[in-house]
Amino acid sequence: MKSFNFWIIALLFAVTSCTIDKTDYEAETGSEVPESYEFKEATSLTSGNYKISIEALNGAFYKGYNELRLKITNTQNNQELTTASVTFLPILSNADGSKSSCPHEYNVAYDATNKYYSGYSVFTGESTTTASWKLYISFTADNQKYEINKDVTVEKQSNKNLNMTAFAGNDGEQYVIALVSPQKPTVSENALVAGIYKYNKPTTPAGTFPDPSQFSYSEVAGYTLKLDPRMPEPSMGNHSSPNNKDLTQETDGLYHGVVNYTMTGNWTLNFIMMNQNGLIVKGTIVPTDHTPGVEGVKSELYIDTLF
């Protein structure tokens, strides 16, 4: 009998002793990627009888692409103002007094279906002690033009899948590329959406501040963004994926393509931006060979992601 007991104790020990836990895959991908799909009021401004509420994802402005929803309410009768012509201008002031802007929708149009004024702003930097953002908004109501402004805080975008890059193209123009979606990529073919914007150099001398002609940006039309996603870390040996699609512009003005993530981890989206004529504006071809132990070479135009 002793031997039986021995075996049973041995088996008991074997069965109960600890082993490596399986990865909780759903929780794991969730923890790396903060996700926010809810629009909340990020700031509000008041001018006379009117209150302007600006809604953004998660109720905050982040570096990179921000979809904005503006609502103008008459505080007297609580009626929403839907017919105003609204302009929106974000201005960045540096310590040296220099002022600049970022890609934005200057004329914010009313979206009757969703009942808000729809715009966007691609903040190119976070608010710091030496750099502060201010929003300049104007609208017309009762045949009167209202102009207001307010300081806002632009926070760090902790979701690397909404990263952006600003650069000078080979054509001498200033460009910004900002990732719009997916917020939360998965191991799969992800629809990749990005905005490409260009700074319109002023052709006229500056008028009274803020003169929108000095701070004008536009969506770039008809370009192609060639995509080559790779895992840059040395251990990944320049790993890439099949079935990716280059980004081209669609009717919403944004650029749409497909990025196929084969596994979770750090990825670099290597881009080559070409203009309407197929000329390279920015970007270099990256090596495609498997180079274990060597950090992957990035294109001169790239955006890092992580999930």
Partner: protein, 659 residues
């Protein structure tokens, strides 16, 4: 928790049953075997204390892919384990390692096995759908009411080349109502040295195995049996791979109810439910050359049912078997840079793949005359796969279905004829198999042989085998000659092909291969065996095997054994025995560079051993000393992963005590 309770219950029932043991031995439970060609006694000609792998390799139609000194992957009819079914007493167990570092044969030990039943081709479809055949590892199971109630054996030994030290013990109790079998074993080995006396690093292993079987006679003609095997391997080196094994554990349990019938067509019905779980953790931190580390844990859990009925009436006998199982295979990849707190990547190499199989098989045999016999068999199985994280499969196969159901039919027929001292047989077979988990759903599984990352394809077609076999033999009192041949024409033969898309991921990898179907492949296996008793106590044996495998373009298939031979002499005098053997392969002319093979040269190995049996009191003992690869030849075989050299001269000693 479930099994803990079960085990506790077992413990209690053991105590209870022993007290009620009766002394009425009227009938013994005996197995009615319809047809079997089992290998009896787990020992080889040369060695009495062998590992399961060494024992299997003494069979003609088994060869091995070796990734080191441990856990060799058995190839049946020169086909890898996806194409054969390997079972333990009919129970399906699936390895938890994507790199096939843990074939099922690595989870048992020679002292808990009674025999190994090898069936070639569709004849082996009784245990589930197969192409190559089946290997069934039969556990020891003592009969009720033996005259000698307690039996036991103890083996110990030391092998000098790799300082392998092993201790194997097993004991059995046979009462009229209650039977128990237990075994325990431990093996430990250091790195071995090749024929140039160079140490082959990372070839050590440590294995612990224990098993327990309890049977209770519930009535004159029925019994209940509970079995468990626990196996643990730790710190096992795989010199041919870029990583080693830190820990693997298997718990294999079953409960069986057997009912005998004295009259009627049905003679035995044996129904078993089983559960087994395997965990397998690789470790590459032991390799300083790896700048990055990858954890690749794997888990495999199987629940199953196997129910077998033996029928017999006059000249007709039949085996009917129902197999059903549910397996969940999970394998993860997680990479770390030098700083282990940071993570580089995560992916599933088996994205939680469920396999469910249910099949009904039948083997019928008629003695149509005194000299001839017809066998007809068939099976129909349903195989269902489900990939939980199918997004990994969609990377290379967009839109592939998450679930897939396949029907797997099988048919076989054979005719045996005995005329005086001659025997002949011809047979044919047809069968399907479903792709394995790796072939169907594998994701970036690194194959260090051809250095490609492998991707599974959920849409692969069933592999379909058309098979023919024949044998002829002659036997008289002194001479026995047996020749066998079989030929397989396999449609939709699954093999890895280089993918033009995708980029490699694993550290040593050079590219990506996807499992794809060739239109067909063909395989021919031949063997000839001769044995001759030169004198009363001097026996000679010779074996010659040849195989040829080709793809649809006439190219060579990988891992096909070249012409090989084995010749041995065995001399006995009183209690003294001496045996010597020479074996080797010819040059592997038909190698396959496409699949990472290069030309492997010929080699010849000479082995010798001597044993002496004696009795101390009533204890029968045998002592053996011998040498493998006596001439210390430096060689590697066609199936040595990455051309790692085999073991050089190895002097082995062992002692076996039976009481």
């Amino acid at each position: 928790m479930k099994y803990i309770i079960m085990l506790l219950f077992l413990g209690i029932s053991v105590t209870a049953q022993n007290q009620h043991a009766h002394h009425d031995s009227i009938k013994k439970l005996e197995e009615v075997t319809v047809k079997s060609a089992t290998k009896k006694k787990i020992e080889t000609e040369m060695k009495m204390a062998v590992s399961v792998d060494e024992f299997l390799s003494s069979s003609d139609n088994i060869s091995f892919i070796k990734r080191g000194a441990y856990a060799w992957e058995p190839l049946l009819n020169n086909m890898s384990t996806e194409r054969s079914t390997v079972t333990i007493d009919g129970m399906h167990v699936f390895g938890a390692c994507t790199d096939k570092m843990d074939p099922i044969t690595s989870y048992v030990e020679s002292n808990n096995l009674a025999s190994i039943d090898i069936k070639s081709g569709q004849e082996g479809s009784l245990h589930g759908s197969t192409i190559a055949g089946s290997i069934d590892l039969k556990r020891k199971s003592t009969q009720f009411g033996l005259q000698k109630r307690w039996n036991g054996a103890y083996q110990t030994g030391f092998e000098f080349n790799n300082k392998q030290f092993f201790n194997l013990g097993n004991v059995s109790y046979s009462g009229t109502k209650f039977v128990a079998d237990g075994s325990i074993s431990y093996r430990t080995a250091d790195n071995y040295s090749d024929g140039n006396n160079d140490e082959v690093k990372h070839s050590q292993y440590n294995k612990f195995n224990t098993s327990l079987g309890l049977a209770y006679k519930t009535s004159e003609l029925s019994s209940l049996r509970l079995d468990a095997i626990f196996d643990m391997a730790k710190n096992v080196g795989y010199p041919a791979l870029p990583m080693d094994l830190w820990l693997s554990r298997a718990l294999i349990t079953s409960a069986a109810y057997k009912q005998l019938f004295e009259e009627g067509l049905v003679r035995v019905v044996d129904t078993k439910v089983y559960f087994n779980t395997i965990e397998h953790y690789m470790d590459d931190t032991t390799r300083p050359e790896n700048l990055v580390h990858m954890d690749m844990p794997g888990w495999s859990t199987t629940y199953g049912l196997v129910s077998k009925a033996n029928l017999k009436k006059n000249d007709y006998s039949s085996e009917i078997q129902l197999n059903a199982y549910d397996n969940l295979s999970i394998a993860e990849m997680r990479m770390y840079p030098q700083d282990r707190s940071e993570r580089t990547m995560f992916a599933y190499s088996w994205p939680w793949v469920t396999t469910r199989f249910a099949g009904l098989s039948m083997n019928n045999s008629w003695d149509i005359s005194e000299r001839s016999q017809i066998n007809l068999g068939g099976s129909l199985g349903v195989n269902y796969n489900y990939s939980k994280y199918v997004e990994f499969n969609w990377i290379f196969h967009p839109g592939a279905p998450q679930e897939k159901t396949r029907f797997l039919p099988s048919l076989n027929a054979a005719y045996n004829l005995n005329i005086d001292q001659f025997n002949f047989s011809v047979g044919t077979g047809y069968g399907h198999r479903a792709p394995s988990v790796s072939e169907g759903y594998g994701y970036y599984i690194y194959n260090s042989f051809d250095r490609y990352d492998y991707i599974g394809d959920p849409n692969l077609k069933n592999e379909i085998s058309y098979e023919g076999n024949a044998s002829a033999g002659f036997k008289n009192e002194r001479l026995s000659i047996q020749g066998k041949i079989n030929y397989f024409y396999i449609q939709n033969y699954i093999i890895g092909k280089i993918l033009s898309l995708g980029s490699p991921m694993n550290y040593q990898s050079v590219g990506v291969k996807g499992y794809t179907s060739l239109d067909y492949a063909t395989l021919l296996n031949m063997s000839a065996n001769v044995s001759y008793d030169i004198l009363e106590h001097l026996h000679w044996k010779g074996t010659l095997t040849y195989a040829r495998g080709m793809d649809d373009k006439g190219g060579n298939l990988p891992f096909i054994r070249p012409l090989s031979y084995l010749t041995s002499l065995h001399y006995m005098y009183k209690n003294f025995g001496i045996q010597t053997s020479v074996n080797g392969d010819f040059e592997q002319i038909n190698y396959s560079p496409e699949y990472g093979e290069d030309l492997t040269g010929a080699y010849t190995i000479w082995n010798i051993s001597a044993d002496y049996s004696f009795k101390i009191n009533k204890v029968k003992s045998t002592i053996q000393i011998g040498a493998e690869n006596l001439l210390n030849e430096y060689y590697s075989t066609y199936a040595d992963w990455g051309n790692i050299p085999r073991m050089g001269r190895n002097i082995f000693t062992s002692l076996k005590v039976n009481f």
